[in-house]
């Protein structure tokens, strides 16, 4: 195995794309930013759009942008992703270069709505709804402040001047460009690792022994009579192997496994319907784990294991398991799962966040409530 943090070499095309995007974007933004002299909207819009096109080209060539025309759900996902991302970035540029702060607030609202669409694509419906509600309030308060505090007619220092337009744009965009360059280097490496851990040509004897062990462990985890089932989870060796094959752990289940703690048992014993529901879920998990174990074993017993098919099968099983424990692609049980995580695993953090909000409220009142300090 190679060194764990060896980076892939930089592709000349990617480097050229990034450099071009940063230079075009810097020039475009510095032309668009408000200032008394030398602001050119038409040329600035053209250069910024060119930078955006080059950036999209970089993302498509580096991370894959081929349209999945044969797979409708994947095609819809791609369409929505590009729609939301491009909208967010366009309105971000509008927010940055807009001299009127009220219009900037409207652009910010659109940025938030688009990122909320991306949150939904990332299987976080609760966070999406919370963000929409919170930032709707934030935008309204911003409007209030704009109406209250800026009553100047015509150009003013704060709205129609920028601090170092060229250097400021260069600093921000060069930062983004370097982050994208790092992503490019790491993405190349990440693909290499998964290929190396499970070579497509042949599985060595010790690999096979380990995978068989993992399959046995998976089956054991599905059997209620064993210790492993009582502990919950799949066991470390099985998970490590599955991580190598699938790219992520299978249904680890741990803190979302409702059979685990005594409190949970008591809580779920309260109503028959809930108990039945939990038992049904546990049975389904058990069945899925057994199916995963069988699939691994069957595939390995063949003379030449079909690795892509095995991977696809295990990925499908993983998706089902994740969906069952509330972490899957669909919003099924996302809210309850987030609530469970918040009030079991992250309880102290929740308390700290509440305290932080209280302290911030007191601080805001102390700062803004002072009377008669006008200089």
């Amino acid at each position: 195995m190679t060194a764990p943090f060896a980076l892939a070499p930089v592709a000349p095309l990617a480097a050229a794309q990034l450099l071009g995007a940063v230079i075009l974007g810097t020039l475009g933004l510095s032309l668009l930013l408000p200032r008394p002299r030398g602001r050119s909207v038409a040329l600035g819009v053209f250069l910024t759009l060119a930078a955006g096109v080059v950036t999209v080209g970089f993302i498509a060539t580096t991370f894959g942008g081929k349209l999945a025309t044969d797979d409708l759900p994947a095609l819809v996902e791609q369409g929505l992703f590009w729609l939301f991302s491009v909208t967010a970035l366009v309105f971000a540029v509008v927010l940055v270069v807009q001299s009127n702060p009220a219009r900037g607030a409207i652009a910010f609202a659109f940025v938030v709505l688009s990122t909320c669409g991306l949150f939904l694509l990332l299987a976080a419906p609760f966070l999406m709804a919370a963000t929409v509600i919170i930032y709707a309030g934030a935008v309204i308060v911003t409007f209030l402040f704009v109406l209250m505090l800026s009553h100047s007619k015509g150009p003013s220092d704060e709205n129609d001047r920028s601090r170092e337009p060229l250097l400021g744009s260069l600093a921000g965009l060069a930062f983004a460009g370097l982050v994208l360059l790092t992503l490019h280097l790491s993405a190349g490496r990440a693909v290499d690792v998964s290929e190396k851990l499970l070579p497509a040509a042949a599985i060595r004897a010790e690999d096979k022994a380990e995978l068989l062990l993992a399959a046995a462990e998976l089956k054991e985890a599905a059997d209620p009579a064993t210790e492993l089932y009582r502990v919950g989870g799949l066991g470390h060796a099985a998970n490590a192997r599955l991580t190598a094959v699938v790219g992520a752990a299978a249904g680890e289940g741990s803190h979302l496994d409702h059979r685990r703690t005594m409190q949970d048992r008591l809580r779920y014993a309260e109503t028959d319907a809930r108990t039945a529901d939990v038992i049904r879920q546990a049975d389904e998990l058990k069945r899925l784990k057994k199916a995963a174990g069988d699939a691994l074993e069957n595939a390995l017993l063949e003379p030449s294991p079909d690795v892509p098919a095995l991977r696809a099968k295990l990925t499908e099983l993983r998706e089902k398991t994740l969906l069952l424990v509330g972490r899957g692609e669909l919003p099924a049980r996302n809210v309850s799962a987030v609530g469970h995580a918040l009030y079991s695993e992250y309880l102290i953090a929740v308390e700290l966040a509440g305290t932080l909000l209280l302290v911030a409220t007191i601080g805001a009142v102390a700062i803004a409530g002072r009377k008669g300090v006008s200089a």
């Binding site: 008394p36 002299r37 970089f58 991370f63 894959g64 996902e77 791609q78 991302s85 970035l89 971000a92 940055v96 702060p101 900037g104 607030a105 990122t115 991306l118 949150f119 694509l121 990332l122 299987a123 976080a124 966070l127 919370a130 911003t142 402040f145 505090l149 015509g154 150009p155 220092d157 704060e158 709205n159 001047r161 920028s162 170092e164 600093a171 921000g172 930062f175 983004a176 460009g177 994208l180 992503l183 992520a248 509330g326 995580a341 918040l342 992250y346 953090a349 966040a353 932080l356 302290v359 911030a360 409220t361 601080g363 805001a364 700062i367 803004a368 002072r370 300090v373 006008s374 200089a375």
Partner: protein, 139 residues
Amino acid sequence: MITVWHYLAVAAALFGLGLVGFLTRRNFITMFLCAEMMLQGVVLNLLAFGKMHGDLGGQVFGLFVVTVAACEAGLALALFLTLYRRGKTLDSGAWQSIREAKVPASVDTDPLRVVREVPDPMLTPAGRRPARTEDEVRV
């Protein structure tokens, strides 16, 4: 196929644009909105990693980021109000007297564009004033 890298790239671009706005703009309210936009990029990162690992930690962390953003918003707006009371302006350049030592002051050289105020259109007075005085009209 949309991978975690796509989301990371979009988040980085959002963060960079917010940084540009925060560095260059001088209105406190716009600077504040740009900082909020950077936080949106960060939350996007957290959610992408959370989905990659099939774990809820990312979403929980995202919720905490939103909480901290709310605290930040309250304190920032209170500070803007105080600064406005003292300086009667939202211009961050008006407070460069508290800049670091040995840093030269930035001076605005170009004059602002002067916009001539065009008064609202009004109807021209027409007709004649009635001959009778108001006292005569009043009964």
